[in-house]
């Protein structure tokens, strides 16, 4: 089995998909971080020009905001939850002032998170599709499936080895995305920012995500949290792509179908967000990271747990159908 998995990983590497994906990533990440840095510097210049001060005084602004918040916190009439979240923000701002950090400076830790948040619904699934779409369909279109299936190995083992190889490569890809976004953006921003505190509505509480109260966590924890969600989504997308790849004969149609599903899903969500059925479509549920940033509900009645359940059902269903179809299929190429 290990030999089979190694073979499949080798095939994926030999097809030179990874350099292509890495190239795409580098281009996009460089452009985005350059753009962000440029916009930030323009903002400061503009501010300096308007306020007439020689240097951009972020400390003054932050202190001003801090005293505003403290004033509100003193107010006896605001509800307890609101006061709690105000207190978190006060705590956060205090950290920035104490450590002499401008809160709005772009950092590598902020960039990799926002890249993941933006990419999770389209860009990252697309990269996964490049990796996964030809996994089985290519063997059919190149007819190599014949030499693969006439070995003394049962068919389910061959598909399983392909799936495990895909999971390995997907995991590697998520690592690479995290690493590239962090390193490339650091080159532009010259700030890591991993220990800065961030307010989030979520905590990992005894192994489950708890959304009841806001809490202050360091950036690196938040990054890990976001990337584990990205990893989860990637695994789901990989599993669904596997199914498409088993069913269709060419990798081009496999990528095409997945693209159509992803983009069509966004349309559905946009136009028919009050239609109950839309929330059971996997594309509607891909945007897991947005649940962390506030009271996000793409369709009425959706929550993080709901989305995770729906995605898991899609993935497990896809894998099950893939194995059944692959096992039964007559190879006529």
């Amino acid at each position: 089995m290990i030999a089979l998995i190694r073979n499949e990983v080798m095939k994926m590497l030999w097809k030179k998909k990874m350099p292509l994906i890495l190239g795409l990533l580098l281009i996009f990440v460089s452009l985005l971080s350059y753009g962000q840095n440029y916009a930030y510097e323009r903002n400061i210049e503009q501010f300096e020009a308007e306020s007439g001060t020689a240097a951009f005084n972020w400390e003054g602004l932050t202190t001003q905001r801090l005293s505003e918040l403290e004033e509100r916190s003193q107010n006896e009439f605001i509800p307890e939850e609101v006061r709690a979240s105000i207190d978190r923000e006060i705590e956060q701002l205090n950290y920035f002032i104490e450590n002499d950090i401008n809160p709005v400076t772009p950092t590598a830790a902020k960039f990799n998170v926002s890249f993941a948040e933006q990419g999770i619904i389209l860009f990252i699934p697309l990269l996964i599709a490049i990796l996964a779409a030809d996994l089985v369909s290519n063997e059919f279109s190149r007819k190599t499936i014949k030499i693969l299936l006439t070995r003394a190995v049962p068919r389910w083992k061959i598909l399983l080895s392909k799936y495990i190889a895909l999971l390995i490569m997907t995991t590697l890809l998520v690592f690479i995305i995290g690493l590239t976004t962090t390193l490339v953006s650091y080159l532009f921003f010259q700030e890591w920012g991993f220990s800065e505190p961030i307010v989030t509505g979520f905590t990992l509480f005894e192994g489950t995500l708890n959304s009841d109260s806001t809490i202050l966590i360091p950036r690196y924890q938040y990054t890990l949290l976001i990337y584990s969600l990205v990893w989860f989504v990637s695994i789901i997308v990989a599993s669904i792509t596997l199914l498409i790849s088993v069913i269709v004969d060419t990798s081009a149609s496999a990528i095409g179908i997945l693209m159509a599903a992803l983009i069509g899903g966004q349309f559905l969500q946009f136009f028919l967000s009050d239609w109950e059925l839309v929330k059971y479509f996997f594309v509607t549920n891909l945007d897991l990271t947005r649940y962390l940033t506030g009271s996000y509900q793409p369709v009425e009645g959706m929550s993080l747990n709901f989305s995770i359940t729906i995605l898991s059902v899609w993935a497990i269903g896809s894998i099950a159908i893939s194995f059944i179809v692959f096992n039964r299929r007559d190879v006529l190429v």
């Binding site: 030999a3 089979l4 190694r6 073979n7 080798m10 095939k11 030999w14 097809k15 030179k16 190149r142 007819k143 190599t144 014949k146 030499i147 693969l148 299936l149 006439t150 070995r151 003394a152 190995v153 049962p154 039964r328 007559d330 190879v331 006529l332």
Partner: protein, 302 residues
């Protein structure tokens, strides 16, 4: 050895509600080369696909070295090497990597086995080039090598000489014949090329329209039972054969023809020589496989 390496009984296959293979049965013994002859669309490839587990029979049984293909797929397939419809390899890798990769899928294939297979098909010089730059002939050789690396007892070759030049066909044939002779490997080779089957095989099964219509050794198939003599006095010989052997010979110029049971032939010749005939030529007339093939298949349309 009299054990069957491959035993096929009453194999049927239905594709899109149409019965394509209508009950095919045959078996192959160790070291035997069997030709599977049939026109295009007769069901050769469909049958072979079922033999190597690429498609599932609608009914019937396949046993390879005593293992049922359906129930003991892994054990059965461990004894099979095959090329089905052209040598399709991973063309983004070198020939050697292809063999390594496929070898690792079978138990106990060593680097030595791979090197041996490469040497056998004579590809040592180009084995590390990418498959994408190979010629058809080279791919066919690697195709044969991949079928041999795990030392199978049964080799199934589907139209293996398609796209080869005459030299390549000759070499390929010699390699396969040697394998059968020296390593006692059984070979099932399908073809629509009659000469190829005639030169390579011990036995032939002729398939048409999903049925095996004739299955016999090449010699049996070709013998017509007709003997031709060329001798000095055909008229007198004719009467002797009539009287002594109860035959009905005909005269055609200086040729004397008769339907003779091959066991009787030497007895007849002795009598003829004893009677003082000057025999210049005797032939146990063979018909060409082509004639037989056309005679058997002409009535059917695809």
């Amino acid at each position: 050895m009299d054990t069957s390496v491959l035993k096929v009984s009453d194999l049927q296959k239905e594709i899109q509600k149409k019965l394509i293979i209508k009950g095919v049965s045959f078996d192959i013994r160790a070291g035997e080369i069997v030709g599977f002859l049939g026109p295009n669309g007769s069901g050769k490839t469909t049958t072979l696909r079922m033999l190597v587990g690429l498609s599932k029979p609608t009914a019937g049984n396949i046993e390879i070295c005593g293992h049922s293909l359906k129930k003991e797929f892994v054990k059965a397939m461990a004894n099979v090497g095959c090329i089905i419809e052209g040598p399709d390899l991973y063309d983004y890798m070198s020939g050697y990597r292809n063999l390594e990769l496929l070898g690792s899928m079978s138990k106990g294939v060593t680097k030595k086995d791979i090197d041996e297979a490469v040497a056998l098909v004579g590809m040592e010089n180009r084995i590390h080039d990418k498959v994408a730059v190979y010629s058809m002939g080279m791919k066919q050789r690697i195709g044969l090598a991949q079928a041999l690396i795990h030392k199978p007892k049964l080799l199934i070759l589907d139209e293996p000489t398609n796209g080869l030049d005459p030299q390549g066909i000759h070499e390929f044939r010699e390699i396969v014949k040697n394998l059968a002779r020296e390593k006692n490997i059984s070979v099932l080779v399908s073809s629509h090329l009659i000469s190829e089957v005639q030169l390579m095989c011990d036995r032939v099964s002729i398939i048409n329209d999903g049925r095996i219509i004739r299955s016999a050794s090449i010699d049996d198939v070709l013998v017509t039972g007709e003997v031709v003599w060329i001798l000095d006095d055909p008229k007198r010989a004719q009467s002797i054969l009539r009287e002594s052997f109860d035959l009905d010979p005909s005269i055609d110029g200086c040729h004397l023809r008769a339907s003779v049971d091959s066991g009787m032939l030497s007895e007849i010749n002795k009598t003829l020589i004893a009677s003082g005939f000057d025999i210049t030529y005797v032939e146990n007339k063979k018909r060409t496989l082509e004639d037989l093939f056309l005679a058997l298949t002409e009535k059917h349309t695809i």
